[in-house]
């Protein structure tokens, strides 16, 4: 900063924006997006098309979107929280009735030339709505049981609709995010312990009585992919082969045989991490993992620095969404979780996830810019 602005008064306007803006976070995101472009170039066997260039363009648009979202006042975000949730719910219902099937699941809604995936938009809308809800709640109400009913609806309604599509990955991700926000808002520990206990008892019962045979088969395959290497377990096994054969230092950029020779399905989307593991080894994987951890840590720091509950919870929710993405994806490709179809944010090829994540980061940046602002608890602005 120029010495002119040093002193008693803080810089204002554009300069204030530049000063307060969280450049560390943006730099980390740019690095991840760049890695994505590099990997997609390699997946195409050293070709910018079809994926690398389009990923670069989408990522750039995402950065633009993030900047715009960051410039929008946090109070406006808070104001549109409920309407946004309601709007996305309408879209989800639209998918239920008018959606088109892609890869065997109804996820897309076509409105004119635009294809939107409402389940992705819900990730933002749910975070905003929950943050908005708890913003207006005292800590006593937030910790109690009764206060849990509206969030249960806010979370449960979209999760059920998305499960019906069926998109298990997104549903789990949404539920996780919601639970994290409820927890951060100060839910009573007894309720948390009771809920965890109920889940522990309910899961085996659900497995036995609540699942169809084919669903149980899928879980069995996940637990033992080698039992059916050419069928259900193929993806997991090939993914583990790619990762494992990379070793510590990897086979070298563009030298990954598993991916280059098409043994790896979905290698440019959900399974791109395995390609990274094959070509750059453990070092490459840990490097990317550390980048994701730094981004998450940065988000949590932003959240704790905020002076209002809406920002705190919204940023925490965004962090939870982001970590859930990373966790589910990497757990999936390393064989720790069933294959549920969750992309690796910023690196996987795909438009919607960039929009969701970048919009989320934009909101986080906006919260960061407005971190000193205290907001009235009972009323919304505008």
């Amino acid at each position: 900063m120029s010495s002119v602005f040093m002193g008693s008064s803080r810089p204002r306007g554009v300069l204030a924006f530049l000063h307060n803006f969280d450049w560390t976070l943006v730099a980390l995101l740019m690095l991840l997006g760049g890695i994505g472009v590099g990997m997609l170039y390699s997946v195409a066997e050293g070709d910018w098309s079809p994926w690398a260039v389009r990923h670069a363009i989408r990522f750039s648009l995402g950065v633009g979107l993030m900047m715009i979202a960051a410039l929008i006042d946090i109070r406006i975000w808070m104001a549109i929280a409920y309407p946004a949730w309601a709007g996305v719910m309408v879209l989800l219902l639209g998918v239920e009735f008018f959606g088109s099937a892609a890869m065997g699941a109804e996820r897309w809604l076509e409105i004119g030339p635009i294809r939107v995936q409402p389940s992705e938009l819900m990730k933002i809308a749910l975070v905003l709505a929950l943050a908005r809800y708890y913003h207006g709640l005292s800590s006593d109400r937030a910790s109690g049981f009764l206060g849990l009913i509206p969030p249960a609806i806010l979370i449960g309604a979209p999760v059920l609709l998305i499960l019906r599509q069926p998109d298990l990955g997104t549903a789990v991700l949404l539920a996780l995010t919601g639970v994290v926000i409820v927890f951060m808002a100060g839910l009573n520990w007894w309720i948390i312990i009771f809920g965890a206990g109920a889940a522990a008892v309910g899961a085996p019962l659900f497995y036995t009585f609540g699942l169809q045979d084919y669903q149980r088969q899928r879980i069995f395959t996940f637990l033992n992919p080698e039992a059916d290497p050419m069928g259900e377990g193929y993806q997991i096994l090939q993914s583990k082969i790619a990762l494992g054969s990379g070793g510590v230092w990897g086979k070298g950029y563009m030298e990954g045989t598993q991916a280059q020779l098409d043994f790896l399905p979905e290698k440019h989307t959900d399974f791109i991490f395995t390609m990274l593991g094959e070509e750059f080894g453990l070092m490459g994987c840990l490097f990317v993992l550390i980048l994701y951890a730094l981004v998450s840590a940065r988000l949590i720091m932003i959240a704790t620095s905020c002076r209002n509950q809406f920002s705190r919870l919204a940023v925490a929710g965004i962090a939870a969404t982001f970590v859930s993405y990373v966790f589910i994806n990497i757990a999936m490709v390393t064989g720790l979780a069933p294959v549920v179809g969750v992309p690796l944010p910023l690196i996987s090829y795909g438009g919607t996830v960039i929009i969701t994540v970048m919009a989320g980061f934009g909101i986080a940046l906006s919260a960061h810019l407005n971190r000193g602002r205290e907001l009235d608890r009972s009323r919304s602005f505008v």
Binding site: S139, F263, L289, I290, Y292, S296, V323
Partner: protein, 619 residues
């Protein structure tokens, strides 16, 4: 303040949140360490298994050549389609896709599915073989849309002369399940092993060594690139040169084509077999390419036995040709003076049993040479009686009878030279005196193959233990002298010459006046091998003539001969199954084949003139 409460709670819980996040990232990191360090060896191997495939390169089978380098068994390019089941992503679908380009019958489909089930899924299975070039080219163009389908250029064994040499070369075929075991080469769908003939007995030399090609493949089994480095070229099998002369072989087969017969022609100086013909024959190409059960059954059902190697495996009584050996034995042991005359009245008695001469009225008094020239049975009954079976058998063995000659062709039979011990072992009975008499005229238990008859003739012609060979391997060793004095050989050879070349010889008229080839003289002996016993009642009413009985009860016609009489070079033996007359039927054929040997020596093609020359037949 409430707000501060919330802020405090949030701050406290954000530590838990950060801790949870840290735990998640640590957990993922640990998982990666486990995969990429602890288990990396395992996954690296799996990755290479994915990536590389060893393609077996089948070796080119060695060719079989005649003595002049004419190709008798060759390899031709064959356009085949294979399928690698685990690269198809569904065998049935792959067949469906393929059937848009080539016709696949239900039967074929069933066979393919059966083979797919029997073999591990990475092993290629044959879909179709010997496609025409156009179809093959079309498949290659469509190959990218046909995962798991491999159009390959293989080799198919080809026998340019078809049936002419089938009994010698044999044929190739797929290795049977038991033979193949787990040998990847034998299990390779494009590979054939010898199933009969020289192809079988010399299989190891013809086979060669398999090579391997390491190829990088993608997930669909398509070859991305060949890795030249670890490629080992297959080593082709050895070419094998035979002593056979294709033209002579063709001529011999042609000269006998109207009969079920066999002929062996030999160079008596080195034992080279020049012709080893057996008719009728079969086309080995149909075996190499795969034959239908119906065709095979038809071949098996034919009473003239086209699949049977008569020249080496057919066993016939040597009949009167055996008298030559009895004459030699009689001289060696001094039981008969060559000048001693034996009176033939047409029959003699031994004990209660009468023994007949073929000539009902008898020959009158004959000496040893005359008894050969006229083929008198009575004389040789007497000679045999005086010799006894042991001495007869000894001489027979010295001339190659009863010996299983190793000429590399499978199916060579040793035949039988009976003696007392043999009979005791075989039937548990004592030898009878009458059986010695029967043996003296080459009947009874005696049995010989045409190959043995040719060897016998070669040994008579040279006085040496000539050993036959079909495969040219180095030079033949010098043959040992046979322990009979020169006068004995001279007498027998001269008598054989008179059989063919002098009026009164049993073959003179049948041959139309002897060898008639330049000023060369030939020597020979006919034989008529009895197939059925002539009963006493039939003798009384008159023995039935050859064509009065059904074909399969007629006598075998034999003729052995060599030429030139003074300095023998070639020997020929011919057996016409159920051909009735030794001199009348087998004689002219043997004479013509003998002539053809000299034609070949002069570099001429005997098959060119043979077409017009129809065999003479009489009764």
């Amino acid at each position: 303040m409430k707000r501060n409460d919330r802020e405090t709670t949030f701050s406290r819980r954000s530590f838990i949140l950060a801790g949870g996040g840290g735990l998640i990232f640590t957990g993922l990191g640990a998982r990666l360490v486990s995969l990429q360090i602890s288990q990396t060896e395992r996954y690296r191997t799996l990755s290479e298994d994915n990536q590389f495939n060893f393609r077996l390169l089948t070796p080119s089978r060695g060719r079989i050549l005649d003595r002049n380098g004419e190709v008798l068994a060759d390899n031709q390019d064959a356009y085949n389609v294979l399928m690698v089941p685990d690269q198809t992503g569904g065998v049935e679908e792959a067949i469906d896709r393929l059937s848009a380009h080539i016709e696949i019958s239900d039967g074929q489909r069933q066979r393919i599915l059966r083979e797919v089930q029997r073999n591990p899924s990475f092993r290629p299975v044959t879909i179709a073989e010997n496609l025409d070039w156009e179809t093959f080219a079309r498949l290659n163009v469509h190959a990218p849309d046909l995962p798991g389908i491999l159009p390959v250029v293989g080799e198919v064994r080809y026998y340019p002369h078809g049936p002419i040499l089938a009994h010698t070369t044999g044929y190739v075929g797929k290795a049977s399940e038991e033979v193949a075991g787990n040998d990847p080469l034998l299990r390779h769908p494009g590979f054939r092993i010898g199933r009969d003939g020289l192809e079988l007995s010399l299989d190891e030399r013809l086979r060669g060594e398999a090579g391997a090609l390491k190829v990088e493949v993608d997930a669909y089994g398509r070859v991305v690139r060949e890795l030249p480095d670890p490629k080992t070229q297959p080593a082709p099998g050895d070419d094998i040169r035979l002593t056979l002369d294709l033209k002579l072989q063709q001529y011999a087969a042609q000269r006998m084509e109207d009969e079920a017969a066999s002929a062996v022609a030999m160079d008596v100086r080195n034992g080279d077999i020049l012709a080893l013909a057996s008719v009728p024959s079969y086309d080995p190409n149909s075996f190499a390419k795969g034959m239908s059960q119906k065709e095979y059954d038809a071949l098996r059902a034919d009473e003239r036995q086209p699949l049977f190697k008569k020249a080496v495996g057919g066993l016939y009584p040597p009949a009167s040709t055996f008298k030559l050996l009895v004459a030699l034995a009689a001289q060696r042991h001094g039981v008969m003076d060559p000048g001693e005359r034996v009176f033939c009245s047409g029959r003699i008695r031994l004990g209660n049993h009468p023994f007949h001469c073929w000539k009902r009225g008898g020959h009158g008094a004959l000496d040893m040479a005359g008894a050969i020239q006229h083929s008198c049975d009575i004389y040789y009954y007497e000679a045999a009686r005086r010799l006894g079976i042991e001495k007869i058998a000894e001489t027979a063995r010295e001339f190659g009878l009863g010996e299983k000659f190793d000429i590399s062709v499978p199916g060579v039979q040793s035949g039988t030279v009976p003696d007392e011990a043999w009979k005791l072992a075989r039937f548990g009975e004592r030898w009878q005196g009458g059986e010695t008499l029967i043996a003296g005229i080459g009947q009874g238990y005696l049995s010989t193959s045409p190959l043995q008859l040719a060897v016998m003739t070669a040994r008579l012609a040279t006085g040496r233990a000539v050993t036959p060979r079909v495969v040219t391997d180095g030079s033949p060793g010098a043959f040992a002298h046979l322990n009979y004095n020169d006068e004995s050989f001279a007498l027998v050879r001269e008598a054989m010459m008179s059989v063919c070349e002098q009026p009164g010889g049993t073959a003179y008229y049948a041959l139309g006046g002897g060898f008639e080839y330049g000023d060369m003289l030939m020597a020979g002996k006919s034989g008529t091998g009895q197939v059925r016993r002539i009963s006493l009642s039939e003798r009384a009413t008159g023995v039935l003539k050859g064509d009065q009985v059904p074909w399969k009860y007629r006598d075998h016609a034999l003729f052995v001969c060599f030429a030139p009489y003074e300095d023998p070079r070639y020997a020929v033996a011919v057996v016409v199954e159920h051909g009735v007359g030794g001199s009348s039927n087998a004689g002219p054929r043997a004479r013509d084949i003998l002539r053809a040997c000299f034609e070949r020596e002069a570099g001429r093609d005997p098959t060119a003139v043979a077409a017009a020359d129809t065999p003479e037949r009489d009764t």
